[in-house]
């Protein structure tokens, strides 16, 4: 409970910090909005030309896109500090964090909250609303829970990936650029239901990195393309991905040697 209070305090500090440079904040927000608006235009024009892909209509694709992008954006908003963790290690910031009387992971998370992502969050909300209003989903209380679980599961999966990045930095002292494939790639290509890419990709995204557990399978159930109700609960299984990530982080902290600066 105390941690929550502390986190709120950090939030307010970060917000005040940003508001010192209002114009720059506004421009950044608009820029990020425009960038992901390009993604939307891409989907719009493709769906306009082809009408459907693997049986998914434009509204369904849009809903799926908004869920993935929303999960990604929320994860980026709160866990961005893990994405840039290599600099925290290299400039000796992590030594200072270890001295603080709080959980080290918690303190790292407090060090950065990326409010500029709000522009994109707004866009995902618009697409989400459109997708819900115009798709032909037969809404039941359970399906509403499923859609919430999808977003939540997505946030957890993306957060776990960020955490794994950060843990690897303990050993390499440098961010591994190609790991962006998992975050940026998922944002870029998660705009369509993963099944579109074929069986191999679905398998990889089920057993290696659990993207399809929160995106593809529950979505199949949501749109009525699969009857199994347990598909809707798979995002919870996706959350298990957090366990190896946390273990790796703990292992990394126990092996941590200061970079010396």
């Amino acid at each position: 409970m105390k941690s929550l209070y502390l986190y709120k305090k950090y939030c307010i500090i970060h917000l005040k910090c940003i508001m010192q440079h209002k114009v720059s904040f506004l421009l950044n927000t608009i820029g990020i909005f425009l960038m992901s608006f390009n993604l939307f235009l891409g989907v719009y024009f493709m769906m306009d030309r082809f009408q459907q892909v693997k049986g998914f209509s434009y509204e369904e694709v849009l809903l799926c896109f908004s869920i993935t992008l929303m999960a990604f954006t929320i994860a980026e908003l709160f866990f961005r500090s893990l994405d840039t963790f290599d600099s925290i290690i290299r400039n000796g910031e992590f030594d200072r964090i270890l001295l603080r009387p709080r959980n080290s992971l918690f303190t790292v998370l407090c060090s950065k909250i990326e409010f500029t992502r709000i522009g994109r969050l707004l866009q995902t909300l618009l697409m989400f609303a459109y997708g819900i209003l115009y798709s032909t989903i037969d809404w039941t209380p359970f399906r509403i829970i499923v859609i919430a679980l999808m977003v939540l599961g997505g946030v957890v999966v993306f957060a776990s990936i960020y955490l794994i990045f950060a843990s690897i930095c303990f050993f390499t002292l440098e961010g591994l650029e190609f790991m962006n494939v998992f975050t940026d790639g998922a944002r870029e290509y998660g705009k369509y239901p993963i099944g579109v890419y074929g069986k191999t990709v679905v398998t990889i995204c089920t057993y290696i990195v659990p993207f399809s557990l929160f995106q593809y399978y529950p979505f199949l159930y949501l749109t009525g393309k699969a009857e199994h109700a347990w598909y809707g609960l798979l995002p919870i299984a996706g959350c298990l991905f957090l366990i190896p990530a946390i273990l790796l982080w703990k292992f990394g902290v126990s092996r941590y040697q200061s970079s010396g600066s």
Binding site: S24, G31, M35, F50, Y189, Y197, G198
Partner: protein
């Protein structure tokens, strides 16, 4: 001319040193290329008759795009140049007996080329080994090769000339953030980086094709795949020349006007 050549060499060798970055870039490009092709395959299966180009031409487009990303990605900004204008370091550059525009132009060419040289060969080789409609197929006749190379050169020069306009505009606006974001996002879509331009709906496509960004990667990659031929190809090549010269003149005029009344901020 000699001084620019040696300046080019310095920057080029400098750029070649980032090998780990090149390897991780390559891995990313492989995966993105594969995903892109899988995605378009799904659309192709959905309705082949709506596909505006042959699947082979599309595969060629995707792989060339991934291989030469460093050459044609507009938002490959050099923050050093922006910073030098903002913090006044550009004064040192102005002391040199070379023209700023030419020096930065050469620099931009060297930086992009050094990045592309390291990355393109493995990506192209890999794509060439892939089975038929998904990989890279080499055009048979000599003319296609010639026009692709010509068009690639023009597109490359165009991209750099456009970058120069953005750099020069910072002399007027001081802050680079707004213009950078705007240029990046607009050029990305209109240049065919999000989806290839032939996939745009009729009506919009004709307009976008005449705009300068369509004269970048869009033209050479489509010529290579045999999607752009004959009269249309010649028109596109002429448009490329036209936009390149326009950008060049605008950039140079902006430079001259800016340097006439340049104020060095800070010290």
């Amino acid at each position: 001319m000699k001084k620019y050549a040696s300046f080019f060499r310095i920057r080029f060798i400098h750029g070649l040193q980032y090998r780990t970055a090149a390897v991780s870039g390559m891995i990313t490009q492989f995966i993105w290329g594969i995903m892109e092709i899988l995605l378009f395959r799904a659309f192709y299966q959905a309705s082949p008759e709506s596909f505006p180009m042959t699947f082979q031409a599309l595969s060629n487009y995707v792989w060339l795009q991934q291989a030469f990303l460093a050459l044609y990605l507009i938002w490959f900004w050099e923050s050093q140049l922006f910073d030098s204008i903002t913090n006044g370091d550009v004064a040192y550059e102005l002391c040199r007996p070379v023209r700023l525009y030419n020096m930065w132009f050469v620099r931009g060419m060297a930086v992009r080329l050094s990045k592309a040289v390291l990355r393109c060969i493995p990506v192209l080789l890999f794509a060439w080994l892939l089975p038929a409609p998904y990989g890279l197929t080499l055009p048979a006749d000599f003319r296609t090769w010639f026009f692709t190379l010509l068009s690639m050169t023009l597109a490359f020069l165009l991209v750099i000339a456009f970058g120069m306009i953005v750099y020069m505009s910072v002399f007027y606006t001081i802050s680079s953030q707004g213009i950078k974001l705007l240029a990046s996002s607009v050029s990305e879509f209109l240049g065919g980086a999000v989806i290839p331009l032939p996939f745009l709906p009729d009506g919009i496509r004709e307009i976008v094709n005449v705009l300068p960004f369509a004269s970048a990667q869009n033209v050479p990659f489509r010529i290579f795949g045999g999607d752009l031929t004959g009269r249309e190809m010649y028109i596109s090549l002429l448009l490329q020349c036209f936009w390149f010269i326009t950008f060049l003149l605008i950039g140079r005029a902006m430079e001259q006007r800016a340097l006439k009344r340049v104020v060095i901020q800070g010290g």
